[in-house]
Subunit: 220 residues, 2 copies
């Protein structure tokens, strides 16, 4: 049976219930740990499910941060250091990743609290998550305050990408399923994936076809 | 072996290769069909992988549109009608959904071209996708031009939600995996999911625990 929720019905939901419901609507979300360091050298790690692609040239990635909840240290560190890393969450670290959303004090490092390790590369001040299988650093490009509800959109430009060579196909596609990256549903659901396939670039005059590894047409 | 791509390496990638690579970085993406109707009554349907949650109260959902690619009709229809629907893509319609990204003329309805059916409810001018298992209508609230790369962020407020009653748990969580919603990787990879579980709200003084159906603690 299809249930029809009107705006009025949604407003009647209890606050946490409404948060779970509305957070389920957009579909599957990315699961990333955002890592930063403050001016005192304290590192910070926050689970963020709103990282999204903005453009490939320049390489821009966006995320939504709600300043009044846990990633507030993340936002102030990004503002001061202009730099952060985004680290994919795998099924080996999903519970630790979720635990970073607890309200730890600003002088406490979530890395230590949840048992994940910091990793550094030359030229990047912000830590990477050692246990993450795909990670990249960004330079802050823009912060846009969304007056409509007080959230903040952070846009960064990709600077360094660390990824297992075996997962990068020759046409540029990265097999994030093979890397065991997980997806999120709602506020707290975690999922691994099973691929249906890759599809060819759509043309008006022919049906889409399945691609095999490296973006070549699938033969039989 | 971990491969390190610098900003210089990324700039050296061929244009389509770079697009596939950068589109893979953000993690899994939502798979949605955005449906609109123009002033002449021609319907439009576009696959969009950048729908994301902005807030639950008011219920706000965002998406990134690149005006110079296929969703251009979507954007102009949203601007004129102030209304659109977002429809989850399942493993039954993923190939038809992908096909909507072909460059059909503005006077052609993608519904007809790819073989999906329009569905209407009272009070909503924009069509829903009949075959979609979770769908909602939105009123346009804000259009923000991202000068950094010429893309546009569209923010809408959720008005009507149509969802199978059996998938809505008593705590508000919608089991979108049970609904067969798919996830996207890169530009053209499609995936079904397998749940790892739901996790309790994180607290600093105790480890997270698995939740079972309806958000209750998992017993053994």
């Amino acid at each position: 049976m299809i249930q029809h929720f009107t705006q009025h019905d949604i407003e009647q939901l209890e606050q946490r219930q409404r948060a779970r419901f509305i957070n389920s609507l957009s579909g599957f979300k990315s699961a990333n740990l955002v890592a930063t360091k403050d001016v005192q050298g304290v590192t910070n790690l926050a689970m963020i499910s709103s990282v999204f692609h903005i453009g490939a040239n320049p390489a821009l990635v966006g995320m939504i941060i709600r300043p009044d909840t846990v990633p507030r240290d993340t936002l102030s560190n990004i503002k001061s250091s202009k730099e952060y890393t985004i680290n994919h969450v795998s099924s080996l670290i999903w519970q630790q990743a979720h635990q970073t959303s607890a309200r730890y004090d600003a002088d406490v490092s979530e890395f230590e609290q949840v048992g994940l390790d910091e990793e550094y590369i030359e030229g990047v001040h912000a830590p990477f998550v050692a246990q993450s299988q795909l990670k990249f650093s960004l330079n802050l490009r823009e912060i846009i305050e969304l007056k409509i509800n007080g959230t903040v959109m952070v846009i960064g430009e990709v600077e360094h990408v660390l990824v297992p060579a075996s997962s990068v196909q020759s046409d540029g596609y990265i097999d994030i399923e093979a890397l065991d990256t997980v997806a999120i549903s709602g506020l707290d659901g975690y999922h691994t994936t099973q691929h249906l396939g890759r599809l060819s670039y759509a043309k008006t005059d022919k049906p889409v076809t399945l691609l095999c590894v490296d973006g070549a047409p699938y033969e039989g």
